[in-house]
Symmetry: C2
Subunit: 155 residues, 2 copies
Amino acid sequence: MTDDARPIDLIGYEALYLDAMRGMIRKVLQSAASPQGLPGQHHFYVTFATKAPGVTGPPDVLARFPDEMTIVLQHQFWDLALGESEFSVTLTFSGQPKRFTVPYSAITVFQDPAIRFELRLTPNLTPTDGASKQADVAEGGGSTVVALDAFRKPR
Amino acid sequence: MTDDARPIDLIGYEALYLDAMRGMIRKVLQSAASPQGLPGQHHFYVTFATKAPGVTGPPDVLARFPDEMTIVLQHQFWDLALGESEFSVTLTFSGQPKRFTVPYSAITVFQDPAIRFELRLTPNLTPTDGASKQADVAEGGGSTVVALDAFRKPR
């Protein structure tokens, strides 16, 4: 193999990683859906691509955020329902309850400010875009290292 | 909240992240367990803590690696079986077939040299150790950011 040869990812590591992280977000959101509500100071900022497939919500609100919008799950949210591939929640806008449905695959950033946790993902906007993103993995120039150091305090 | 106040993780982000990554490894290993075998140039180096709960193998081999050992799943492996929480595989040592069973929770490093992919994890050595590791998350001094950049080629 020459230095010019690009390794080809036939396994689909990025897709598997994204699936794993989306599954993790679903489990974290279960903390907010439980009868006891969010533990301690935990709360979530969920940013999602408003044009991603499967996103639904009040058209006037979505129209104001043509790319992304961030919803806050802290005190003012109701009826959080966690499906296999999407969640739904009711929030208030201008005093009116509005229902949103967001596929986990539409989430771009998930944050829990209580412990300064942040997870950035790439949404599946279209199948074509997904294929393009997948190719990026194969074309990685250096080593791909995923470490848990981000969760660790400085020594 | 003062600057001295440490955020407390009541959700267990690190444990959820480790679970997600172990699930991902299981799915990657399925590529090696399929009848077609490993695709392309893919092969796996799996490093695990030999004293982690649930690890079994030939005592003479394990005794030579009191901390960690690395097994290679490339050409010379047989009967790879993927369970919910552990995998088993037969390898040869000095020409003799030897059976190993490794819980996913014992894996410390997973590598696919074909695309220079590396995933480092923390094994569950004992319940006490696990609790200690969990505390590390809560005591993180800075922001915790998990990004997908590692999968991306330089722009």
